[in-house]
């Protein structure tokens, strides 16, 4: 058993053990959950230590036959992109447990059990190298999130939970159809083997086939991202979920979609992806602007952050479909940034809710007076989310915009509007919640950060600054992988888009 398997299966084992803890001792469930998730995080840091940053290849590969007919393997491995996403999941899970410590009193045992199961599903999604296994994890991660929203959410939780489940399910059955179709063509689910067949020309899809398969995968991913106009489940799910659910949903689950596009859609169906790119980019830009405009008018903090996610994820999709090295790097970096900064936003909004029991902006005001440290933390997060230089989002947005400018300058012009708008809605919210007259309710109920909450906020802020100031710690392995993906999208495709960093282009040319 290598370290990657340990990191994957530890949350599952922890989940099974958590089920055995008696209901009468919720504290034991909490302690167990935090211990297990911190252990997972520490082990995943070990992955980072052994990770070879100089290559785009898959590392820590495990390939065990699972089912013989059809030939399904338990195949997992990590590359420079998936490793960061796994770390993001393992980093956020303990923080989510901490923010739920007091907020979740009802059925605490099940709550933490589901959170651990969710962690297992999410890590699995990012590691699976067998299309079938990928689908399994994709669906498995759905179930705990469904319960997290449906049981511990706010008033309209049931509606939101069911909508979330059905939207994802509808998309994923299309993906399943495509996966089975590919299997029938290739007799394998192994993703590396399929890519290998494609690049060596042993397998080729007709343009029509490629388009349909691409769409089947893409719609499943686009629902998860969510790409305008498939985003309508997101505001409901984010708003109704408990704080920990919102954090995991926004920070990690949405990345399942963008990761899927990057890891599966582009290399498997390069020419369809390029053909559809202009349309998708238009949808992404609509999402950026529409998400920002709708966020501006929200009276509810969580809904505002939720719509800001639609806007931010639009940047990620734009970056991916710019088909430039910078755009792809920026997209991946933005995936991580969004995880950190929006995760932090939802976490701190959760802390506010715990105190004031309201998400309405109008119920707040003057929080900065009552809770200065909390306000400072929120301010830093807000600025990060807007894209202030030296904080993380700036790097990602800059790369995405530059990448898209290389592809088509008009895209950049429209997308930049979103950056401006994000400053408007975030700062305006900050102003209404934290400044102004101190609301009497706020004075009575809102107190400053406690030790446990410091433990949540500090790691977030450290990451925001680190990722903003020294992106070199994170980007090089990402760049290796995105360059490879970019190469793979040039298989069977006439050269149209030249990127500014032709790292592997010569190799691709030679291959052809």
């Amino acid at each position: 058993m290598n370290l990657l398997e340990v990191v994957l299966f530890l949350p599952l084992a922890a989940f099974l053990i958590a089920l055995l803890i008696p209901r009468s001792s919720p504290q034991a469930s909490r302690v167990w959950a935090i211990l297990a998730s911190v252990a997972t995080f520490v082990l995943s840091l070990g992955l980072l230590g052994w990770f070879d940053r100089s290559t785009a290849g898959e590392q820590f590969a495990v390939d065990i036959p699972w089912i013989s007919a059809p030939d399904i393997h338990f195949a997992i491995s990590a590359n420079g992109v998936s490793l960061w996403l796994v770390l993001l999941s393992t980093f956020l899970t303990p923080l989510c447990i901490l923010i739920s410590w007091r907020a979740i009193q009802d059925r605490a045992k099940e709550f933490y059990a589901f959170l651990l199961l969710l962690e297992f599903g999410l890590i699995g999604v990012f590691l699976a190298q067998d299309l079938f296994l990928f689908y399994v994890f994709w669906e498995v991660s759905l179930v705990p999130m469904y319960f997290l929203i449906g049981i511990w959410g706010h008033e309209r939780r049931i509606y939101a939970a069911v909508k979330f489940f059905l939207y994802t399910m509808a998309g994923s059955v299309l993906m399943l159809t495509a996966i089975i179709y590919i299997y029938n063509r290739t007799q394998t689910f192994s993703y590396p083997a399929i890519v290998d067949m494609l690049s060596s020309g042993r397998l080729s899809f007709t343009p029509e086939e490629q388009l349909w398969l691409f769409l089947a995968f893409f719609i499943a991913f686009a629902i998860k991202v969510p790409l305008f106009p498939l985003h309508t489940w997101l505001p409901d799910a984010h708003v109704e979920a408990p704080a920990a659910g919102s954090v995991m949903l926004a920070a990690v689950m949405l990345k399942m979609g963008t990761y899927g596009i990057l890891h599966f859609c582009l290399p498997l169906f390069p020419s369809a992806a390029r053909e559809c790119a202009p349309w998708i980019v238009v949808l992404a830009i609509i999402g950026i602007i529409y998400g920002a405009l709708v966020a501006m008018v929200q009276p509810n903090m969580k809904k505002l952050v939720a719509y800001s996610s639609v806007s931010h994820l639009g940047f990620v999709v734009l970056g991916i479909f710019s088909f430039t090295q910078m755009g792809l790097d920026g997209a991946v970096y933005q995936m991580l940034n969004h995880g950190i900064s929006t995760g932090a936003l939802f976490a701190i909004v959760g802390l506010l809710y715990e105190r004031r029991h309201s998400l309405e902006i109008k119920d707040y005001g003057g929080v900065a007076t009552a809770a200065p440290w909390l306000s400072t933390a929120f301010l830093i997060t807000t600025l990060a989310s807007i894209g202030l230089p030296t904080l993380n989002n700036f790097v990602g947005e800059f790369l995405v915009l530059q990448g898209s400018a290389l592809a088509n300058f008009k895209w950049t012009i429209f997308a930049s509007i979103g950056v401006i708008l994000s400053a408007c809605y975030m700062l305006w919210m900050y102003q209404r919640v934290f400044y102004g007259e101190v609301n009497p309710e706020v004075r009575h109920h809102v107190f400053d950060l406690k030790l446990r909450e410091w433990a949540v906020v500090v790691p977030f802020i450290v990451m925001m600054v680190w990722m903003g100031v020294y992106s070199q710690s994170f980007l090089p392995p990402v760049g290796k992988v995105t360059a490879k993906v970019l190469d793979e999208t040039q298989v069977n495709v006439p050269f149209r888009v030249q990127n500014s960093a032709p790292a592997h282009n010569t190799e691709a040319a030679n291959a052809r």
Binding site: A69, V143, V173, L174, L176, I180
Partner: protein, 491 residues
């Protein structure tokens, strides 16, 4: 038919499961007046014993004496053994929750168990039959016993309605089937499936009109038995009215047996005219999936909902049947796997319903499950597994069932059927989720608070299929390998 049908010991061993069941059934009838009903679990125990013994006998017969029995009237092959064991398992899972159910309804009799055993004996004959007349005999034994079982709670008006409806429509269906048999005999002069096949492929093949007519008539009869659209109208009323353990049994046992017959007749005898019946099966599959899943959305009674869901699941198996002629092993193997997975998850789900339904089966609305997750977490967790499996979430048997079926459908280029089928299964997620919502996300009502802890039998009836469902979802190979291998023996 052989000229000199002599018995020999081997034939008796091949027929042993049916013998055990019939003997025990008769014994139970005789013991009925003798045993004290109030305090005794003897009936249940005896029928469990018989079912386990019959299951073992079926395996024994296959491992030692596989082959045709009684001059080719029965065929003890892997296919038959698979379904024999399956119907025995369904029987066991019906008997287990019926202990507490019958006590609660104050209706403990030997009659119930005897009828159940007869019905299973009939199904066991059906699945091993290699001659149309034997199919018919098995079908009748199975059906007549189940008509009575459906009306077993004779003071219940709905049970009576269910029984009469099931009987009337069922008799029609069997009559259709018998007509089909008659026509085939008229055309080909034989009722042996293999011989029919030979006759259809031979030089002087009979007129396609008549063979088509016969196939169509049999299709109607069998489609009724498996509750595939457009012959599904009886299912909701019967499942709702019948006592819950019986409804569980009807939705799994007779259905699996009828599908076994379906596969054997259409893939052995009528395979040469597959191009003719494939579109019909295709249409029926599509209709069943659409009608079943959409009608289930509107139900508030959980038994009715499960009835419509069983129509939809019949549709999925029909997809496999439609794919079978072009991908023989894949399609049949997938159908077999699906029926096994479906039997486990559906019987399990019904067992939970029988547990919460209360005296006189008053609480069978979905809302009566409110807060079950808090009051009886174990029960709720088991039902969750079954429902997730019915939705088709990975790591459950239901998922692999669907996966294998739609894979063979895609292999046969039934792309649209696959896409529509999978989309309707996403629709289906809605009504299954509604049960989960009520169980976990609604506050417990008085009804759920009053539920007693489950009895031992019931617990076994839930845990066994739950383990089975998860096992099929994580290690599907064991069953699938066997299904695939036995599917190839068909012709």
């Amino acid at each position: 038919m052989p000229a000199n049908p002599t018995f020999n010991l081997d034939d008796l061993i091949r027929f042993l499961p049916e013998i055990i069941l019939t003997v025990m059934g008769t014994l139970l009838m005789v013991l009925d007046p003798v045993i004290n009903k109030r305090s005794s679990k003897a009936f249940g125990n005896l029928s469990l014993l018989a079912l386990v013994a019959a299951g073992a006998a079926a395996v024994f017969a296959y491992t030692t004496k596989a082959g045709p029995a009684f001059g080719g009237m029965l065929m003890v092959d892997g296919f038959a053994t698979f379904f024999r064991v399956l119907v025995m398992v369904v029987g066991i899972l019906t008997v287990l929750p019926s202990y507490s159910f019958l006590t609660r309804q104050e209706a403990e009799t030997g009659e119930f168990h005897a009828l159940l055993l007869f019905s299973i004996a009939g199904q066991s004959i059906m699945v091993a039959a290699n001659e149309l007349i034997i199919v018919f005999i098995g079908l009748e034994i199975s059906s007549i016993a189940s008509y009575v079982l459906a009306g077993y709670l004779r003071d219940d008006k709905r049970a009576n309605e269910a029984s009469v409806k099931y009987f009337l429509l069922g008799s029609f269906a069997t009559a259709f089937f018998l007509y089909g048999v008659a026509v085939i005999y008229g055309c080909t002069g034989t009722i042996n499936l293999t011989a029919v096949r030979t006759a259809l492929t031979g030089q002087d093949a009979p007129s396609t009109l008549f063979v088509g007519l016969a196939a169509a008539l049999m299709f109607v009869g069998l489609a009724f038995k498996v509750s595939a659209a457009p012959f599904q109208v009886w299912a909701p009323d019967v499942y709702q009215g019948a006592p819950t353990p019986v409804a569980a049994f009807l939705s799994a046992g007779p259905k699996a047996a009828a599908f076994a017959v379906f596969l054997r007749i259409f893939m052995t005898a009528f395979e040469p005219i597959a191009h003719g019946w494939e579109p019909i099966v295709w249409g029926s599959a599509l209709l069943s999936m659409i009608i079943g899943n959409f009608a289930a959305l509107l139900q508030s009674n959980i038994k009715r909902m499960l009835a419509y869901s069983s129509v939809a699941h019949a549709g999925y198996v029909m997809v496999a049947l439609a794919a079978a002629p072009t991908t023989p092993n894949g399609g049949i193997g997938a159908a077999m796997f699906y029926l096994a997975a479906y039997a486990l998850m559906n019987v399990g789900a019904f067992a939970v319903v029988s547990y919460v339904s209360g005296r006189g089966e008053r609480s069978t609305s979905i809302d009566d499950l409110a807060g079950l997750g808090q009051r009886q977490p174990m029960m709720a967790a088991m039902l969750t597994i079954f429902l997730l499996s019915l939705i088709g979430v990975p790591l459950t048997g239901g998922f692999f069932g669907k996966f294998y079926i739609f894979r063979s459908a895609l292999e046969s280029h039934l792309v649209w059927l696959t896409v529509i089928g999978l989309l309707t299964s996403a629709v289906a997620a809605y009504y299954y989720l509604r049960v989960l919502v009520v169980m976990y996300m609604h506050e417990p009502t008085e009804a759920t608070s009053k539920i007693d802890p489950p009895s031992l039998g019931l617990r076994a009836a839930l845990i066994l299929p739950a383990i089975g469902t998860l096992f099929l979802g994580i290690f599907p190979n064991w069953v699938l390998d066997f299904a695939d291998r036995s599917a190839s023996l068909l012709k």
